[in-house]
């Protein structure tokens, strides 16, 4: 393994209608290292979902290029590169292809022509990772939204990917299931050292990620650690703990004036 980043996005632009001058994304560049997790945030219309479609080769950039492991993503390499990445989409129902949990997890493996014995063990392993092994023979109508997203996650994990992409994958879940699936994800990431990109508008998801990429109307606003981003961009609504910290500082409490994650704030307050 070399030092080169796992993913390199170089100056990509895209518009849905080439007769018009409206760009969904313009001149976006960023790198992602192995084992790093990145949250892409921005409001509706910021182009963040377009980015997910470009990264997975569902769309091709008009300008610029995307490199995964040093290989450019294009029609020819798409199939090969998709063995190294997986994506979970927003709607839990529409990405459940098969008639049972384990069949659905196996779907991607079947397409890669993986022999049965290997499939069996990979499917079981992936389901264990997301705590859904007991549900392996259930059909989708017997599962909650959160459980279906766990199955989708297992489907991606079974491919043993280096990069996992989540396209607003947790927004349709209730806060409790969201928190628990994010915790599962964090555990998996540290176990497998896989890279993660999560596209989201949920501020409370942010503390689960190493860095943030902020998009606005198709343009890159900034990239950095949560602390840097929230320090520089006072207009961006921060997670709850940071909101509270700002409030407390304004009210005159003696707290350090920089971004804090929830656990940092709790530690500081309890000193």
């Amino acid at each position: 393994m070399t030092d080169q980043p796992l993913l390199s996005v170089c100056d990509i632009s895209f518009r849905y209608d080439i007769t018009q001058d409206v760009y969904a994304l313009s001149a976006i560049s960023f790198d992602l290292n192995r084992g790093e997790s990145l949250a892409v945030i921005g409001d509706n219309g910021s182009g963040k979902s377009t980015l997910a479609r470009l990264l997975t080769g569902l769309l091709s950039p008009e300008k610029g290029a995307i490199y995964l492991d040093g290989v450019e993503l294009n029609e020819g390499s798409k199939k090969m590169l998709r063995r190294q990445m997986g994506i979970v989409f927003q709607n839990p129902d529409n990405q459940f292809i098969a008639t049972s949990v384990e069949d659905d997890v196996a779907f991607g493996l079947e397409n890669l022509n993986i022999p049965y014995e290997q499939m069996r063990s990979r499917v079981d392993e992936a389901l264990e990772l997301v705590d859904m092994y007991e549900y392996r023979t259930k059909d989708p109508s017997q599962l909650s939204g959160g459980q279906k997203q766990r199955v989708a996650l297992a489907g991606v994990l079974a491919l043993k990917p280096e990069l996992m992409i989540f396209d607003e994958a947790f927004v349709m879940l209730d806060p409790m299931s969201r928190r628990s699936i994010l915790e599962t994800l964090r555990r998996i990431q540290s176990e497998l050292n896989v890279s993660i990109i999560s596209i989201t508008h949920d501020r409370d998801e942010i503390e689960f990620f190493d860095s943030l990429l902020v998009l606005n109307q198709g343009e890159r606003v900034m990239r950095g650690k949560p602390a840097e981003v929230f320090k520089q961009m006072s207009s961006l609504k921060p997670p709850f703990a940071e909101q509270l910290r700002r409030d407390l500082v304004d009210a005159g409490m003696d707290l350090p004036d920089y971004y804090m994650s929830e656990s940092e704030l709790v530690d500081t307050l309890c000193k």
Binding site: N44, M172, P175, F240, Q243, L244, L248, E262, V266
Partner: protein, 285 residues
């Protein structure tokens, strides 16, 4: 308008599948002008409870009354339609029910079905459009051409256009970005306050419960396990644990701090403001 459930039982039927007693002997009373949250896990019977409120589901036993109208197992079509006019129902992802050629026609659909006159309808469309924060230039557009947030507002306008006395909302903010969600909920709360309506909100998000609701009703396995004020419920940690429901962010943080210091705050904090005040008073020290 007051709502009463008197020992109500109901089954759920989808195609050939029938589940018995998804609503299992519920009795409850929702007083006039209250804003009540309904919470509970998936499959606890929340949607069935909502459907009982306007006769989309008929009880197998017991009766539901909305004001002076009563629905029982032989609900008559005439009564049902009267009830439906009284009870506005915003389903989850209500934009999925849009169908008309223009936004105007879609909003007018409900009022037309309920027999309002032409002049009344024009007025109702304008009024409800304003209430959901949209401008009249959207009226001639196709609902399918709008953004997600706009569609949601148009769909809600189509419901409040019939001037319901009771408004039932099934996760009206689901899938929207945080700002969009807050705007919609704040707008619905304003509507509640200015129209003296009785509002019922199904939600999974306890932040919504503490921000917008007065009372809360917890459902489990087709039964109401508790029905009380929001503050009353969240003040009782044992009950919250027993019911397996989440905490609003401020309270969750409060509990984290308490765990850390081993000292319990004098008050339960439901909002950011309350938590801030408690911390400034040194509740954590």
């Amino acid at each position: 308008m007051q709502i009463n459930f008197n020992r109500v039982y109901a089954d759920y039927q989808l195609g050939p599948i029938r589940s018995k007693n998804v609503v299992d002997g519920i009795s409850l009373e929702l007083a006039k002008n209250t804003f009540t949250a309904v919470v509970g896990h998936t499959g606890a019977g929340k949607s069935s409870l909502l459907k009982l409120l306007n006769g989309l589901l008929l009880p197998t036993d017991g009766e539901v009354s909305v004001g002076d109208l009563t629905i029982d197992k032989n609900g008559k079509k005439k009564t049902l339609n009267k009830v439906r006019k009284r009870v506005g129902m915003v389903f989850q992802f209500p934009e999925r029910q849009l169908f008309a050629e223009t936004v105007e026609q879609d909003i007018a659909f409900g009022p037309k079905n309920f027999g309002f006159s032409k002049e009344e309808i024009t007025q109702l469309v304008d009024q409800s459009l304003k209430q959901v924060g949209l401008t009249p230039d959207i009226l001639p557009k196709s609902p399918f051409s709008l953004s997600g947030g706009q569609k949601r507002r148009v769909a809600i306008a189509g419901i409040i256009a019939t001037k319901p006395d009771v408004l039932v909302l099934d996760e009206p903010g689901a899938g929207l970005d945080p700002e969009g969600k807050q705007e919609i909920l704040a707008m619905l709360r304003t509507l509640h306050d200015t129209h003296d309506s009785t509002t019922i909100l199904v939600t999974h998000d306890m932040n919504d419960v503490v921000t917008y609701c007065d009372n809360v009703l917890v459902m489990e396995k087709g039964q109401v396990t508790t029905h009380q004020t929001v503050r009353g419920l969240f003040s009782n940690q044992n009950e919250i644990d027993r019911l397996g429901i989440g905490l609003p962010e401020p309270l969750r943080l409060q509990r984290l701090i308490e765990e850390h210091t081993g000292r319990v705050f004098p008050h339960v904090c439901l909002t950011q403001q309350e938590l801030k005040d408690q911390l400034l008073e040194g509740a954590h020290l």
